[in-house]
């Protein structure tokens, strides 16, 4: 019971089907609209960067918020406070010993600290994130870390800074504001550039 098209099997051709009997072109219009919408969808999908690189822009950075204060004892027992006077740049680094990007950025941070130690305009503070204190301490010792590390046992510090993945670093200006954040592995050069940019735009002394 096929509709009235004659198919010439030998020729493999098809005679054209009858014209639309009712003169309506509903299918065509719906199809065109659907095609347009899907073209838009494809355009959007084609221009998306990978989810890894997009993850979490920090709202603290977006609003140049005042850095949530930090006060407590480091792993060595000394006390640490932020904000502190006289102010300088602080790289606040959340890390864990088991995460690969943290292990990759460790030497970079050591280099950064070494460069700025003499001028004293920037220092690093590490905070343990989703790791045990023992493992973190061992990792820091193996890395040869000279800057203070704080434990964050109840996760309050990570919450205050909105940390969602390892490693995340925040650049805090001398006047106590969060000016930049780096997710997923900082480099010494990158941090230097951030500091320079912050200086140029007027944060800091």
């Amino acid at each position: 019971m096929s509709i009235g098209t004659e198919v010439d099997v030998q020729a493999g051709t098809v005679t054209s089907p009858p014209t639309p009997a009712t003169g309506r072109h509903t299918a065509r219009w719906v199809a065109v609209i659907a095609l347009a919408v899907c073209a838009g969808l494809v355009a959007v999908l084609a221009t998306r960067p990978s989810a890894q690189t997009v993850a979490a822009r920090s709202p603290l950075v977006d609003t140049h918020a005042v850095a949530p204060p930090i006060a407590g004892a480091t792993l060595d027992g000394a006390s640490y406070r932020l904000p502190r006077a006289p102010g300088h740049y602080v790289v606040l680094n959340f890390f864990a010993s088991w995460c690969i990007p943290c292990q990759e950025e460790g030497p970079e941070l050591v280099a950064f600290q070494f460069q700025h130690q003499s001028t004293g305009d920037a220092s690093v503070l590490s905070v343990v994130f989703e790791d045990t204190v023992g493992d973190a301490r061992a990792y820091q010792q193996k890395l040869g870390v000279t800057w203070p590390t704080m434990a964050d046992n109840d996760g309050a510090l990570a919450l205050a800074y909105g940390v969602r993945s390892d490693p995340t670093s925040f650049l805090i200006s001398p006047d106590g504001r969060v000016v930049a954040s780096v997710t997923g592995g900082a480099t010494a050069k990158g941090l230097d550039q951030l500091v320079a940019r912050a200086e140029a735009s007027g944060y800091g002394t």
């Binding site: 509709i3 493999g12 089907p17 659907a34 999908l45 084609a46 989810a51 993850a55």
Partner: protein, 697 residues
């Protein structure tokens, strides 16, 4: 050697597809029948190529041949043989290989099934489309997703092994192949849809063929999705089985559209209506499988299920665009001329119910699609700000749609075609409705609270009773048919089994399975109790009526993994071992839960935090009726099998309530190729009339 063999296989598959395209193209353009018939041979060639490649890859995995970078990244010397085998589909390139070989299998099945009609341009166009898709996927394997790429640099001596979550549970052996059998299976209906549009032949016979293939693919996809839920439940540790994760949604979308198609194609077979709508559904289902493949493998969406990011994203997106342009473009060009004439006679009829069913399924599929891609859209619109769309959004639409679908499931089996009145419906649905209300009342009296679950239980009972009614009537019709054909009482009673097979009856069993799943879902999500128990060794705690005693710990290690287990005794009975496991030294630990399942509820135990000191924190989740989800999945699978067994060959135009007539095959035979004759049908409150059923055509 493995790499060489694998490359040969992939090349063979691609070559077969490419040459097949050329030959068919020439045959169709010049109208050469022999060319079209001769192109049949390339489908088995594609399959052979795929099989060679699979054999090569499995050999490499089982012998730990680390000269292949795929094996080096996804296998280790200590990986057990089961997880070496499943390593074939544990990562991106291998999954494309699995796709290719399954597609080769489907292509071969198709050309074999239609071998007598291979000179028909419709079949030729369909084969051409399948070859194009096969060429694309094998082409991916020649380029960016090459599973047999040689490792760069020195050959490593050991590898990291598969992802920890993928070696935790043997279900990884079944779930991906089932899923792929389902997803890839939608290629064939799409091929036939495109061929129908090109040749302009939309008659109902071809729709019948397409429907059968779609049912086959749909059944595997359903099983794949439900097995995936079960696997998530057993492995992921948060006690849930469906998180509206983008990858889960990617498999759900073709399923929703496929279910809509399986119902609306019945309207086409019976009344010749909704032709273009059905074609659109088939095109949409296949396009959604490609879109899902893109979302899973391109890295634009983060998900616990997604494969690693790679460069095949733009290629998959391009193919998606091509598929969409072809399908939708053909519909735009030809659709209006090929529309069915006539319309639906009355809203209260089975056609109307199927239309409502379609609107609900397709509407919900659009909502799921919107929710899944919306974070990307928003990011594009709002210049980088991110927004999340999670489970609460999807559930808000899922609950009303699901309840409406349960209601339709209850009403539709009793609805006649064409037109009916409420009087007739009231008569037929009285008993199921009473049962549904009874269930609600009993639940309320027993202390169950909450409108949504109560409605789910009531409507579920209503739907199950309605499906049961249809099955009972069908069995009775088979019995009567056998009796009227002269069989004795006992023989005829045995023939009652025929009331369970066939399209409609298998469908009723599937409906019952869906109701069981719905009830389990409603109970588990509404009455879930979640908490933590802090226990020291030897201490017992109680949670929601269960006592959990922490007996001690033990360490179980094997070459491939070591796991630190807690020994818990639940309710003074069985022992359960939630654990923290590490697969391969230096990799992250994953939690492995332990589940105390029973028919009434599941107690889900996991280690909540890395234990420190003497007191351990255990996460405990209690969910009622979870076991019934998996039972319902089994019923759905069983019903699909029943649906595939041919009942007495029935003309789709025969009335639903026609009495069983005398033209019945002999009772004793198990004849599998029945001649055309009316199927035994459920008869309603009417004894067979002494009037032959008229009805020409």
């Amino acid at each position: 050697m493995n790499g060489f063999l694998g490359h040969t296989g992939v090349l063979l598959g691609f070559g077969g597809a490419a040459v097949g395209i050329v030959v068919l193209g020439v045959g169709l353009a010049r109208g050469r029948g022999p060319a079209m018939r001769g192109a049949r041979v390339y489908a088995p060639l594609i399959l052979v190529g795929g099989v060679i490649a699979v054999v090569a890859m499995e050999r490499a995995l089982l012998t730990h041949d680390f000269s292949l970078s795929y094996v080096a990244a996804n296998n280790s010397r200590s990986t057990p043989w089961l997880y070496s085998i499943t390593g074939l589909w544990s990562a991106l390139a291998g999954s494309i290989l699995l796709w290719g070989v399954v597609l080769g299998g489907y292509a071969t099945a198709m050309v074999w099934r239609f071998r007598r009609r291979s000179g028909d341009p419709l079949v030729a166009w369909a084969t051409l489309v399948v070859y194009v898709v096969a060429a694309f996927f094998f082409g991916l394997m020649l380029g960016p997703a090459d599973p047999f790429k040689h490792v760069a640099g020195a050959v490593p001596t050991n590898g990291p092994g598969p992802n920890s979550l993928l070696q935790n549970n043997p279900l990884v052996l079944i779930h991906p192949p089932m899923l792929y059998l389902g997803l890839v299976g939608f290629t064939l209906p799409f091929a036939f849809a495109v061929a129908s549009l090109i040749t302009g032949r939309l008659d109902e016979d071809w729709q019948g063929e397409t429907r059968r293939w779609t049912l086959f693919a749909w059944a595997f996809l359903s099983m794949g999705i439900l097995l995936g839920a079960w696997w998530s439940y057993q492995v992921l540790g948060w006690g849930g089985f469906w998180g509206w994760d983008p990858v889960e949604n990617a498999a759900l979308l073709p399923w929703l559209v496929g279910t809509a198609y399986l119902h609306s194609v019945m309207v086409q077979q019976r009344r010749g209506l909704l032709r273009i709508w059905n074609l659109s559904l088939v095109v949409a289902a296949f396009s959604l499988t490609i879109l899902g493949t893109f979302l899973t493998r391109s890295g634009v969406i983060q998900s616990v299920h997604s494969f690693s990011e790679s460069t095949i994203g733009p290629l998959l997106l391009g193919f998606f665009g091509l598929v969409l342009c072809t399908g939708v473009g053909l519909i735009a060009w030809r659709g209006d001329r090929l529309r069915s004439v006539g319309g639906i006679d009355a809203p209260v009829s089975r056609e109307g119910a199927f239309l409502a069913n379609n609107v609900l399924f397709v509407g919900f599929a659009l909502v799921v699609l919107l929710g899944t891609v919306f974070p990307l859209l928003y990011e594009a619109l709002d210049n980088g700000t991110q927004v999340g769309v999670g489970a609460p959004y999807f559930n808000r639409f899922f609950v009303p749609a699901g309840l409406a679908l349960l209601f339709l499931m209850a009403v539709a089996p009793a609805l006649p075609w064409r037109k009916t009145t409420l009087e007739v419906m009231r008569g037929r649905l009285a008993v199921p409705a009473v049962l549904g209300v009874l269930v609600v009342v009993v639940c309320v009296l027993a202390g169950v609270r909450g409108v949504e679950p109560l409605l789910a239980f009531g409507l579920g009972a209503f739907a199950a009773a309605s499906a049961g009614r249809a099955l009972v009537l069908s069995v009775r019709g088979a019995y009567r048919g056998a009796r009227s054909a002269g069989a004795s009482g006992g023989r005829a009673a045995l023939t009652g089994w025929r009331g369970f097979v066939g399209r409609a009856n298998g469908g009723m069993v599937v409906h019952i399975g869906v109701v069981v799943v719905a009830i389990g879902l409603a109970a588990a999500t509404s009455y879930l109790h979640r908490g933590q128990l802090h226990l020291a060794t030897g201490q017992a705690g109680s949670f929601s009526g269960h006592t959990v005693e922490f007996l001690g710990t033990r360490v179980v290690s094997s070459p491939s993994h070591s796991s630190y287990q807690a020994v818990l005794r639940v309710d003074g009975g069985g022992l359960f071992y939630p654990a923290v496991s590490q697969f391969g030294a230096g990799s992250a630990t994953v939690g492995t839960p332990a589940i105390d399942s029973s028919w009434t509820n599941d107690l889900y135990l996991s280690i909540a935090t890395n234990p420190k000191g003497a007191v351990w924190a255990f996460g405990v989740v209690e969910q009622p009726l979870v076991m019934w989800l998996w039972v319902g999945a089994g019923i759905i699978g069983f019903g699909s099998v029943l649906s595939a067994i041919p009942g007495r060959r029935r003309r789709p135009t025969d009335p639903v309530s026609a009495p069983a007539v005398e033209v019945a095959p002999p009772v004793a035979s198990g004849d599998s190729t029945p001649v055309a004759g009316p199927e035994d049908r459920p008869d309603v409150d009417v004894d067979p009339l002494p009037v032959a059923t008229g009805g020409p055509s």
